[in-house]
């Protein structure tokens, strides 16, 4: 069973790698979105360092949203999804494997790119470390919640815009605690509470996300 799960993750990664430049879209979008902030609010360093945690996190959130609409739709269109539902792997684990692959191709690269961007926004070095940690804890939650949104809209002709409407309100807590941790580090007022809550949220999302997404897939794939 574990082998089948890993094979599915591996397959998704292979598909992502062979999919070419499209896979890097999330990171490219992330970089461009963050560079828009100084252009929007002006180059004053004090202001930039004040908005840096929020700007990076908001951009990461939107970047993670970008590829969600293809998460199940591609498999739905070519029939792979119904074959996966007939396979030995319970649908909950199919969802989990896809969320893991989504995170490896979006969340992880985002966390890797974030420190450079944060430097562009004049963030302190204390903030950088916590920014990476908070992104590593928070972006998997984004992938898992996103999987629910993607599962709810499989089979709809225009699911993409709807996913954003469904998922963004649910992303609010992740944004708040993620930014809270980074600001805590920058202002030196402690980061543990925020990071612990993020970690707790990740555990909750790991359990509930696949359950809800699997229930949704059973209904949307008929």
């Amino acid at each position: 069973m574990v082998g089948v799960f890993l094979r599915l993750v591996g397959r998704e990664l292979t598909l992502a790698v062979r999919g070419g430049i499209g896979t890097l879209m999330a990171v490219v979008f992330f970089v461009i979105a963050v560079t828009l902030f100084p252009l929007g609010v002006g180059p004053e360093l004090g202001l930039l360092s004040r908005i840096a945690p929020g700007a990076v996190w908001v951009a990461a959130l939107l970047a993670a949203l970008l590829s969600l609409d293809r998460l199940f739709v591609a498999d739905h269109e070519d029939g792979s999804l119904e074959q996966l539902m007939l396979g030995v792997l319970p649908i909950e684990f199919v969802v989990l494997a896809k969320a893991v692959a989504h995170w490896l191709t979006t969340g992880l690269p985002l966390a890797a790119a974030a420190p450079v961007l944060a430097l562009l926004l004049n963030m302190s070095v204390d903030g950088l470390v916590i920014l990476i940690v908070s992104l590593l804890l928070g972006t998997p939650i984004l992938s898992l919640i996103g999987a629910v949104g993607a599962a709810l809209t499989v089979g709809l002709r225009r699911g993409g815009a709807l996913i954003a409407l469904l998922v963004l309100p649910l992303y609010v807590p992740v944004l708040i605690f993620g930014v809270g941790a980074v600001e805590g580090a920058v202002l030196d007022v402690g980061v543990h509470a925020n990071l612990s809550i993020l970690a707790g949220g990740l555990v909750g999302a790991l359990v509930l996300g696949p359950l809800a997404a699997a229930a949704a897939l059973r209904m949307t794939v008929e």
Partner: protein, 257 residues
């Protein structure tokens, strides 16, 4: 490998006549017809009484003057928007677990009413903010939570409407409602947390001012009136849903003729 047949006509009956008292639409419609005039009447009576007590009898606040009177709309509307979201979630659970056909219709019919109450909460909060804080919008923790609740309502309504097959839309939206109801307390908690982190410069006077009993009575009357209003608008909406389902049945009969 074997299959066993059941007739199409029997299918219809087993789906309607089971599980629960209100699962039968005929029975629901009977009860609804009896309840409807009472609900409509008490809506009018309670809201008039609440407005009279709130606007004329209750004394002005020693700090806010007459401006505080908007809470007689604002606070009950906020209660209702949360209450209706819980109703939608409970109906969604009933529809997913017991395939309760009426629960779907109640959930679907409730959503726009809940969204309207949420919007009234936001609007009245904003109107209240102007004399209180001198600005139309304050990122107060409660208003922010309400805003996110409003987005959740919109998502639910949009998802419901996105499916060609209403039965499928109802089941999928039900899952979203349940996901949302798990999330609402987390959102609330996170927004409170965020608010204390960014302590606003303004002093919040909305939070539990010592309320005179002459203010409690109109508040509760208005809340009861809003509840009665909810029942009053829900009944025709559910009726319309049942009627449109019957129209679909008849139309399909024509198509396959």
């Amino acid at each position: 490998m074997a299959t066993r047949a059941t007739g199409a006509t029997r299918r219809g009956r087993t789906r309607w006549a089971s599980i629960h008292f209100f699962a039968n639409p005929a029975r629901f419609l009977r009860v609804a017809r009896a309840v409807y005039p009472w609900a409509a009447g008490s809506t009018a009576a309670l809201i008039v009484a609440g407005l009279v007590l709130g606007l004329y009898v209750a004394p002005p606040d020693y700090q806010q003057g007459d401006a505080y009177r908007i809470i007689f709309v604002h606070v009950p509307a906020a209660w209702m928007s949360l209450f209706i979201y819980v109703v939608i979630a409970l109906c969604s659970a009933a529809s997913l677990v017991w395939r309760h056909p009426l629960a779907d219709l109640v959930a679907k019919s409730s959503a726009p009413v809940g969204a309207a109450f949420t919007f009234i909460t936001l609007l009245s909060g904003s109107l209240w903010g102007q004399p209180m804080w001198g600005t139309w919008w304050v990122w107060d923790a409660r208003l922010t939570s309400m805003l996110i609740l409003f987005f959740l309502y919109l998502g639910y309504i949009a998802l419901h409407a996105a499916f060609d097959d209403p039965a499928k839309g109802a089941r999928v939206a039900a899952i979203l409602a349940l996901v949302g109801v798990v999330n609402v307390p987390i959102v609330k908690f996170s927004v409170d947390w965020w608010n204390t982190l960014h302590q606003p410069a303004t002093i919040s006077k909305i939070d539990a001012p010592s309320i005179d009993s002459s203010m409690v009575a109109p508040l509760l009357l208005m809340a009861a009136g809003f509840m009665a209003y909810y029942v009053t608008v829900l009944i025709p909406r559910v009726r319309a849903q049942i009627a449109s389902r019957r129209i679909r049945n008849l139309r399909m009969a024509q198509v396959s003729r």
